[in-house]
C-alpha cells in the first residue's frame, strides 16, 4: 500500500467509522471537522510509530498535517531527510 493510501486508510478507519464519504486527499481535516486537536495527537502517534519518524513541536502545524496529501508529503520528506543523515527508515511491522 502506498504511503498516501496507508494514511488515508488510517484517517477513514479512525475518524470516519470506515466510511470515506466525501473525503479526498486534499480535504482539510480541520475545516471539515474530521480531526480536532486531540485527533492530531493520535495522528502524530500513528506516523511516529508507523514510519519511525520524530515529529518536532514546530512541525505540528496545519501545513504538515491538515490533509492526507500533506501528511504523506510530510512523512516522505522526513524519511528523505533521515536517509540523507544516514538513518535507517521504513515502516514498523
Amino acid at each position: 500500500m502506498s504511503l498516501q493510501k496507508d494514511i488515508r486508510s488510517f484517517i477513514v478507519d479512525n475518524f470516519l467509522f470506515g466510511d470515506a464519504g466525501e473525503l479526498n486527499d486534499d480535504s482539510s481535516f480541520i475545516k471539515e471537522g474530521i480531526v480536532d486537536s486531540t485527533g492530531i495527537l493520535q495522528l502524530v502517534a500513528f506516523i511516529q510509530e508507523q514510519y519511525l519518524v520524530a515529529v518536532e513541536d514546530e512541525e505540528l502545524i496545519p501545513e504538515n498535517l491538515d490533509s492526507v496529501s500533506k501528511v504523506a508529503a510530510f512523512v516522505e520528506e522526513k524519511q528523505r531527510l533521515a536517509l540523507e543523515n544516514g538513518a535507517v527508515v521504513g515502516e514498523a511491522t
Binding site: 480536532d36 495527537l41 502517534a45 511516529q48 513541536d57 514546530e58 505540528l60 498535517l65
Partner: protein
C-alpha cells in the same frame, strides 16, 4: 455594541447593583418555576466565580438557603481552604468540608495520574509535582500542544510534550476531581432538598472549559452570561473579601500552581474577555489589537482559537442524544 462607540475595556463595564438585582430575580424565578427546590449548594473553591455565585444565591434566597461545600484534596493550594472559609464567613452561610483525597485514592486517581506522567517523565513519583500547560498559539500558530511540567523534590523542572496516550490518561484521571466534587454537591443537595448552583463564567461556559458531569453539571448557573471581568465587578459590589478578588485565576487542579491561561485560554482573562466580546459582536481584529496589546494577526489567531474551542467542546453542552425526539407535552 452601539454604532459609533469605540471598542475598549468599557464595553464590559456593567452596573453591578442593577445586574445583581436582575440575576437575583431570575434565580428566584427559576427556582420557583423550573427547579422547584428551595435552596442551593455551592462548591466554594476560594476563587472569584464560586464566591460570587454563593453571594448572589444568598441575596436571592437568603443565607439559610445556601450551603457551601469546601472540597480540598492533597494537591489543592494551601490557601484554598483559608479563602473559601473567609468567603463563607463573610456571607454567614453554613459550610461542610469534604476532603476528597480519600475518594481519589480509592478510585486510583493518584496512582493512575503518576503512571501516566511516568510515561514521559520516567522518574516521576513521590515528592514530585506537576501541571499541564498548552502551547502558545498566538506567537506560534499551529495545533494546540500539551506539555507536562514536572518538578522534582529538588525543584528542578522539566517540560515534556505529551503524546496521545499519556495526554488522555492524565485528562481522564484528573477529571475524577471535578466529578467527585459534583457527586458530593448532589449528595448534600439531595439530603437538604436543595439544588446545585454551578459556577462557570462566560469564558468557561462558551469555551467548554469544564468537565462534563463534573463542574459542568448543575441545576442553575447564575453567572454563565458574565465575562470574567464582569464577575470581578460584581465581586467588589457584593463585598467579596479582597484576598479572593486579588488572587489570579487558578485551576487549583494540579500539584504545581497553574493559571487558567496556561492550561486552556490563549490569553489572561482581561484580554480573553475582550477578544471573546469582539468575536461575539463582529468587531474586526484591527479594532481589537491595540486595546489588548496584540497585532491584528495575533487577534485573528485568538478568534480562530475561540471558534475551534467552541466547535470541539460543543458536545459537552449536549444532553444525551436520542434516536427519536420524545415530546414532553
Amino acid at each position: 455594541m452601539k454604532q459609533g462607540k469605540e471598542f475598549g475595556e468599557e464595553v464590559l463595564r456593567l452596573d453591578p447593583e442593577r445586574e445583581t438585582g436582575r440575576i437575583c430575580a431570575r434565580i428566584r424565578e427559576l427556582m420557583l418555576t423550573r427547579v422547584k427546590r428551595r435552596g442551593v449548594v455551592v462548591g466554594l473553591s476560594g476563587g472569584i466565580d464560586s464566591s460570587v455565585t454563593a453571594a448572589l444565591a444568598v441575596r436571592a434566597l437568603g443565607r439559610d438557603r445556601v450551603v457551601a461545600l469546601e472540597m480540598p484534596e492533597r494537591h489543592s493550594a494551601q490557601e484554598t481552604l483559608t479563602l473559601s472559609g473567609m468567603v463563607a464567613a463573610s456571607l454567614g452561610i453554613e459550610t461542610a468540608v469534604e476532603d476528597i483525597s480519600g475518594i481519589l485514592e480509592a478510585v486510583g486517581f493518584y496512582r493512575k495520574y503518576d503512571e501516566a506522567v511516568r510515561m514521559v517523565v520516567p522518574g516521576y513519583g513521590e515528592g514530585w509535582k506537576s501541571k499541564i500547560v498548552i502551547s502558545n498559539n498566538i506567537d506560534h500558530p499551529g495545533f494546540t500542544l500539551f506539555y507536562v511540567v514536572a518538578q522534582d523534590a529538588q525543584s528542578a523542572t522539566s517540560t515534556v510534550r505529551l503524546p496521545f496516550k499519556p495526554y488522555l490518561e492524565i485528562v481522564a484521571a484528573t477529571n475524577f476531581k471535578q466529578r467527585i466534587r459534583k457527586m458530593l454537591e448532589y449528595y448534600h443537595a439531595d439530603r437538604l432538598n436543595f439544588a446545585v448552583a454551578g459556577t462557570p463564567n462566560r469564558l468557561e461556559y462558551d469555551q467548554g472549559f469544564f468537565v462534563k458531569l463534573g463542574d459542568g453539571a448543575a441545576d442553575i448557573k447564575p453567572i454563565a452570561h458574565l465575562y470574567k471581568s464582569q464577575v470581578y465587578q460584581l465581586a467588589e459590589y457584593l463585598g467579596i473579601p479582597e484576598e479572593v478578588r486579588k488572587r489570579r485565576p487558578t485551576t487549583d487542579t494540579y500539584s504545581l500552581s497553574q493559571g487558567q491561561d496556561e492550561f486552556y485560554f490563549s490569553l489572561p482573562y482581561e484580554q480573553m474577555d475582550l477578544c471573546l466580546f469582539a468575536r461575539n459582536n463582529g468587531i474586526p481584529a484591527e479594532s481589537v489589537a491595540c486595546v489588548v496589546g496584540l497585532n491584528p494577526e495575533q487577534v485573528r489567531s485568538v478568534f480562530r482559537d475561540i471558534d475551534v474551542k467552541r466547535s470541539t467542546t460543543r458536545y459537552l453542552h449536549l444532553p444525551p442524544l436520542l434516536v427519536d425526539d420524545i415530546a414532553w407535552d
